[in-house]
């Protein structure tokens, strides 16, 4: 494969932008935000092309960058308030997984991510998106974010516990009124 450094921007755009757009749509739906973040991700790719020497690493770089930009977006919306729809009462607090998930699964997952975005540490949210929306294995996530598969397993376990806490608090009506702070968010620094 040709390295990014030597490639024409139109070739790079044709090769990577469709999958960036697809990835952003999984995280943010068919929205203006998804389009903005896809464009921002591509711009960053182009700006940083000199530092991505191995063309095989490009996709992992794109997944990491777009996921982090999407998390920023979730948190901005969460702080603004008012745009996040509540989950259906019957909905489970779980995220859908991988290529086999349905559109409804993903809509539900995006709402859930909006709800918990500012209550969950960045790296757990990142791992959860890569695992549950993109279907990555622990090892693949580790490769994307620069951690071991074992660490990813631990982050995802904590994320699941926080969702369980969120579920319990939501059912009692506490979560949205009291500024939810489930779990221990200070003692899990790497």
């Amino acid at each position: 494969m040709q390295s990014l450094q030597d490639a024409d921007i139109e070739v790079v755009y044709r090769r990577y932008f469709p999958l960036i757009r697809d990835k952003c749509a999984r995280m943010l739906g068919d929205s203006a935000e998804a389009q903005d973040i896809a464009q921002e991700t591509f711009m960053r790719l182009w700006s940083n092309r000199a530092s991505i020497a191995d063309p095989r690493a490009v996709i992992a770089w794109l997944y990491r960058t777009s996921t982090r930009l999407a998390i920023d977006n979730y948190r901005r919306i969460s702080k603004r308030g008012g745009e996040v729809q509540c989950l259906d009462d019957a909905a489970e607090f779980t995220l859908s997984s991988g290529p086999e998930s349905t559109v409804e699964d993903r809509v539900h997952s995006r709402r859930l991510l909006h709800l918990v975005a500012d209550k969950v540490p960045q790296r757990e949210l990142e791992a959860a998106i890569l695992s549950r929306l993109d279907g990555l294995t622990h090892e693949e996530i580790g490769h994307v974010v620069g951690a071991s598969g074992r660490t990813i397993r631990r982050w995802l376990s904590r994320f699941d516990r926080r969702l369980a806490d969120f579920t319990a608090m939501d059912k009692t009506g506490q979560g949205r009124e009291t500024g939810l702070v489930p779990g221990d968010m200070t003692g899990d620094k790497r």
């Binding site: 139109e10 973040i37 921002e40 290529p99 376990s157």
Partner: protein, 271 residues
């Protein structure tokens, strides 16, 4: 808990679609899984048919290190730097014939630094027949000029010189540099203690004289109370924030630089 999916991940599928993976397992899976094949087809098909938007071409012609934008603290602007296309392209095309933009200071001409950091319309030029008039200046093609575009709820419009922006709006600039070869965009640093005029560099890069340049960075308006200020400086050599401070500090812009200050009122609605 690992994923229990028997499908390859989207990461693996995307690697396969772009030729970065030739995994026999993935190939075997694709031969029997229509859902994964659809993803590959969608990504590959789009790659073949996708049109190259204007912002990509702008990016190609810009020699700016985009990362420099993010390496600088931007306390008045929230979130990531964003860009957009779509309606902007047509808006820019329309602007090419008759530039309806804010024009800047030339050495020896009236300056706009008197409006520094005050909310209100841009370019309250002393030559203006109606000081404070909110209509933007109409200039001839070929002169230095800057247009400020606002994206709100997916729609892009040229700023009218007076309407307030709102949190969440994205701002973007188009520059016609005249004979200048460099453009830099600054914002006052509210945390600066040594000088009220201290600036933060939001963007800097080369421009080609005589043609319009869509700045490949944009900024999202935050919820902080007060106006937003963008200072666009055209020059013939790179300017540091300190150089820019000195260049715009006097009553008139220094020779060799051209300055336009946008003071944009902001409407913050409390929830």
């Amino acid at each position: 808990m690992n994923t229990t999916s028997r499908h390859p991940s989207f990461l693996e599928l995307d690697r396969y679609a772009t030729g970065a993976s030739r995994s026999p397992e993935t190939r075997a899976h694709l031969s029997s899984c229509s859902a994964c094949r659809r993803h590959i087809d969608r990504v590959s098909g789009a790659a073949a048919s996708i049109e190259i938007p204007a912002w990509v071409r702008e990016l190609a012609t810009s020699s700016v290190a985009h990362s420099a934008v993010r390496s600088t603290a931007r306390p008045r602007w929230s979130g990531a730097t964003l860009v957009w296309s779509g309606g902007l392209a047509s808006a820019l095309a329309a602007a090419a014939v008759l530039l309806v933009v804010a024009t800047g200071d030339r050495p020896g001409e009236p300056t706009v630094t008197e409006t520094a950091d005050r909310p209100g319309p841009v370019g309250r030029d002393r030559k203006s027949p109606q000081p404070g008039h909110s209509a933007p200046y109409t200039g001839a093609k070929g002169a230095e000029a800057v247009g400020l575009y606002i994206k709100r709820a997916g729609r892009v419009s040229l700023w009218d010189g007076s309407s307030p922006v709102m949190p969440g709006d994205s701002l973007r600039l188009k520059v016609v540099p005249g004979g200048f070869t460099r453009v830099a965009v600054f914002s006052p640093d509210p945390a600066a203690k040594r000088s009220e005029r201290a600036l933060i560099e939001l963007y800097a890069g080369a421009v080609e004289p005589g043609r319009g340049h869509l700045i490949p960075a944009a900024w999202k308006v935050d919820r902080a109370v007060g106006s937003e200020t963008l200072i666009v400086v055209l020059s013939r050599a790179p300017l540091s924030p300190g150089d820019a401070v000195r260049a715009i500090a006097g009553p008139t812009a220094r020779p060799g630089v051209w300055v336009r200050r946008f003071v944009i009122p902001k409407q913050v609605v409390e929830n």
